[in-house]
Symmetry: C2
Subunit: 111 residues, 2 copies
């Protein structure tokens, strides 16, 4: 047997899955629900929108929408600011660009 058996696993990790794989998977997870895809597409066209705009369009409870928005926020893809009684959501352009770059690289696409 190998004396350094316990070192093999870390070696495997290094030589296979890297930070970009994890990052891309994290982004893909954020995109892994139709509602979140819709929200991102919606926001990528308009500059910003209110939570209520989305709630009017989507056939889900407000609490559910709020949860999806939080996931997008946690993934760094959107940001929300309290504005009067409403909440204004915008795309986070910096991370959106990073996402485009990562997916583009992975899929062999370009801007």
């Amino acid at each position: 047997m190998f004396a350094n058996m316990e070192t093999l696993l870390p070696l495997k990790i290094e030589t296979s899955i890297g930070a970009d794989h994890v990052r891309l998977a994290r982004l893909a997870k954020a995109l892994s629900h139709p509602v979140r895809v819709f929200v991102l597409e919606f926001l990528s066209r308009r500059a910003c929108c209110y939570s209520g705009d989305l709630s009017d369009l989507l056939p889900i409870a407000k609490s559910t929408l709020s949860q999806h928005l939080r996931e997008l926020k946690d993934a760094g893809l959107i940001q929300g600011e309290l504005e009067a009684p409403k909440v204004r959501y915008c795309l986070r352009r910096d991370n959106w660009e990073q996402a485009r770059a990562l997916f583009g690289d992975f899929l062999g696409l370009e801007a």
Copy 2:
């Protein structure tokens, strides 16, 4: 109140989430784990590979890898053929192209 209140929800569905949102979310879900991202990237470079090749590289149990491969197969992104004692996995180019098109459209990227 509206007399046709019960028709509003289907209307919402039609006017918001469409088939492409669902399709993209389905693909994103397949990409939502680092191991699956790695496998796809690996396969997109080489034409095909054996399950054992991946097992040698990845720090996970074979049964776990098999599960991830099945998910990619269910998503239509890869195909596996039994070849002697091994299993040969290849990218499904047709659906891979469709995935590239969907993501490209969504992200505003071109081939």
